[in-house]
């Protein structure tokens, strides 16, 4: 499948290497050439240098032809905005968004984005490990607090 990953940080790079090793066609977007070191010396992916919110950069990464898009930068707002652009302007249906802030992750999950919040996952998995219960599907780890806060 054709995969585009925005953000070549630890999680983005690791995902890129895993999917590329499974023979998926991976394109990585990052604005910092330094980040690409994480892909190793002979990176098995296509690289597009640039800002992931720039429509020209996204077009260069051939986002509209891709089957799935991952927004994996360290900027929650960048990821959320990029995800919405990719969905609406480039017509990609499968979009995953890394969101570090649990509340923002919840708010946008409720608006229909597939958001992944590392803190909630980590906490829930630690809990299950401690209790000796089995690890669960991702939805089981999402925590809903927005209503309470509001």
């Amino acid at each position: 499948m054709k995969v585009v990953i925005l953000g070549c940080g630890r999680s983005g790079a690791s995902l890129a290497l895993q999917l590329a090793s499974m023979d998926h066609h991976v394109t990585v977007i990052d604005r910092n050439p330094e980040s690409l070191r994480r892909l190793g010396k002979t990176y098995p992916c296509r690289i597009v240098l640039g800002n992931g919110l720039d429509l020209d950069t996204l077009a260069k990464a051939e986002v509209s032809d891709s089957d799935v898009f991952f927004a994996m930068t360290r900027g929650d707002n960048t990821n959320i905005m990029a995800a919405q652009i990719v969905k609406r302007n480039f017509g990609v249906e499968r979009v995953a968004v890394k969101v570090a802030d649990p509340l923002r992750a919840e708010a946008y999950r409720k608006l229909g984005l597939f958001t992944i919040n590392a803190a909630a996952l980590l906490a829930g998995m630690c809990r299950d490990w401690f209790l000796g219960t089995e690890f669960k599907p991702i939805d089981a780890y999402n925590v809903d607090v927005l209503e309470v806060e509001r």
Partner: protein
């Protein structure tokens, strides 16, 4: 009517806007992410108008009172921050009116698509002004008088212009405007009611700024 207005982003745009809104007796709160800048702005605008915090953070939004805000204006230098701030204001807090600054003009359509209808793009505005000037070389502003209330414009008449072959007195000009001078074959000459225009005349006119568009129509109208 006094409103509760939240301004996100304490840069130049935010500060000038906040000052004016305070002067209009609105209840204004500015959110600034950087603590040092927030402190500085507190001294400048008054402590009660400044809150240190991230305008995209839902807990900060709660504390700032997004729930009862009449308008949220996000004017940071980052489009993604302005978008997410306004979107959360609408979706989480049901703020009825949100305004976003857009830095990349290409993002205006993105914001609109997502439902943020009120966007302001300085880049877009400046670009369209320049673009307009280049596109309509038929009527070029060369200066203004009386604090910008009166414009001086010039125009070179093409052979298709409806002014060509007509005398000044037969031309209906917008109220308050008049043709003052013309250059023909390199020579300048004053204009009176009998002056008849020819192709390639360069005409100089004065017009109240509010009627510049009308004059543009008179000058750029061509024979079908």
């Amino acid at each position: 009517m006094s409103m509760y207005i939240i301004v996100v982003g304490g840069g130049n745009v935010g500060v000038q806007l906040t000052k004016r809104l305070i002067a209009r007796n609105h209840e204004v709160l500015m959110l600034e992410k950087d603590s040092r800048q927030a402190q500085k702005l507190g001294n400048l605008l008054g402590e009660k108008h400044i809150m240190h915090g991230d305008g995209c953070d839902i807990l900060t939004q709660k504390e700032a009172g997004f729930k009862r805000a009449d308008i949220v204006v996000s004017v940071t230098g980052e489009d993604e921050d302005n978008l997410i701030c306004c979107q959360l204001a609408k979706e989480v807090w049901n703020v009825s009116r949100v305004v976003a600054r857009v830095n990349d003009p290409a993002h205006e359509a993105v914001f609109r698509e997502i439902g943020i209808d009120d966007t302001v793009s300085a880049t877009g505005i400046i670009f369209s002004l320049i673009d307009q000037q280049i596109a309509s070389d038929e009527l070029i502003p060369v200066g203004h008088l009386h604090k910008g209330h009166v414009e001086i414009v010039e125009s070179v008449l093409s052979e298709r212009s409806r002014l060509v072959g007509r005398a000044v007195r037969d031309i209906a000009l917008p109220q308050g405007s008049f043709i003052v001078y013309l250059f023909r074959d390199g020579n300048g000459m004053p204009v009176n009611g009998d002056t008849e225009f020819r192709t390639d005349d360069m005409v100089v006119a004065m017009v109240p700024s509010a009627r510049a568009e009308e004059l543009r129509t008179v000058f750029t109208d061509v024979n079908a």
